[in-house]
């Protein structure tokens, strides 16, 4: 299965979901006016991946900003990951936040309380 990759823009994050090593990355800013368009291909890709996931999938989320429109789409992505985790494969979500960015840490904790996948909160110290 081919990896799905998007170059980041001022309003959308860099994406690299690689099925060959099970490392998925979301990095940068996610503030498009309509996030459904952006996230739909990712959600579809995850449906495919879920048919034969690796034993371990590691998801690195390193967002500087995301808007509330994206927050629902990110939840959709996490729900797909939760389904994979419910099966025989393991999923870990590494949630990165910049030093002192309590809002971003809290956003990660919100997801952690909704999604039954282990989260690791990782502070980026400059």
């Amino acid at each position: 299965m081919e990896a799905i990759t998007f170059e980041g823009t001022a309003k959308t994050p860099t994406i690299k979901f690689d099925a060959s090593n099970g490392v998925f990355e979301i990095k940068g800013r996610s503030i498009p006016e309509n996030s459904i368009e952006f996230y739909k291909p990712l959600v579809d890709w995850l449906d495919e991946y879920a048919k034969g996931p690796l034993d371990l999938t590691q998801v690195n989320v390193q967002l500087e900003y995301f808007n509330t429109s994206s927050s629902k789409c990110i939840l959709d992505v996490f729900k797909k990951l939760e389904n994979i985790h419910k099966g025989k494969s393991e999923v870990i979500i590494n949630w990165y936040y910049e030093e002192d960015d309590e809002d971003m840490l809290e956003a990660g904790e919100d997801y952690e309380s909704i999604i039954r996948v282990p989260f690791k909160m990782i502070e980026i110290v400059e």
Binding site: A10, K11, I31, P32, E33, N34, S35, I36, E37, Y65, N67, T68, S69, S71, K72, C73, L75, E98, D100, D101, E102, D103, E106, D110, S113, I114
Partner: protein, 183 residues
């Protein structure tokens, strides 16, 4: 006396204004505003935390304008650009900013919006968090991509009450003004 946009705008546009805009709220305009304000915030040596909060609130405020703007009927259109909105970002003092937005709203939507803001203003930090998580988890995005979370997010990130007014423009339309303090 009916509401005068120019009056309103010039009152807002005073003090230490980082950016003031009135006109069409388009996707490109949002990109430009964000770029300009981000650069200005970088120049002022504010705490990173405040910079991020201002940026976040600005994103949500602009996208609320983008998604929830009511168009005026054609005969009044001449004096306003389509998707007309007002945005003013003011530096009140060190590490304190005010973000003001304004847009037209059909009078039949006032009650819904007013109830929503009053509800948000009545909640504690913990209750706001629960409300945010509930909407996040239970409500679908609209076709336009709005999620009904913008105002909740703004209140949560700023920890301040949302100040607002509805000024009568004509029978059917009001001008909705929202002021948010980021501190």
């Amino acid at each position: 006396m009916s509401f005068d946009i120019n009056d309103y705008y010039s009152k807002l546009n005073s003090g230490d204004v980082l950016l003031a805009y009135k006109g069409s709220i388009t996707s490109d305009l949002i990109s430009n505003v964000l770029e300009v304000v981000e650069a200005k915030l970088d120049d002022l040596s504010e705490q990173a935390k405040i910079r991020k909060k201002v940026y976040n609130v600005l994103v949500e405020s602009l996208q609320n304008l983008f998604h929830h703007n009511d168009e005026l009927p054609d005969k009044l259109h001449d004096s306003f650009d389509p998707k007309f909105g007002v945005l003013v970002v003011t530096r009140v003092e060190n590490n304190v900013y005010r973000i003001s937005t304004g847009n037209f709203i059909n009078s039949n939507k006032i009650k819904f919006l007013k109830d929503k803001i009053d509800k948000i203003n009545s909640l504690s930090e913990e209750e706001l968090k629960d409300m945010y998580k509930f909407i996040l988890n239970h409500q679908k995005l609209s076709a336009k991509g709005g999620g009904g979370l913008g105002l909740v997010d703004i209140a949560r990130k700023t920890g301040n009450k949302l100040e607002y007014s509805f000024d009568n423009y004509n029978n059917e339309y009001y001008f909705f003004n929202l002021e948010v303090i980021v501190s």
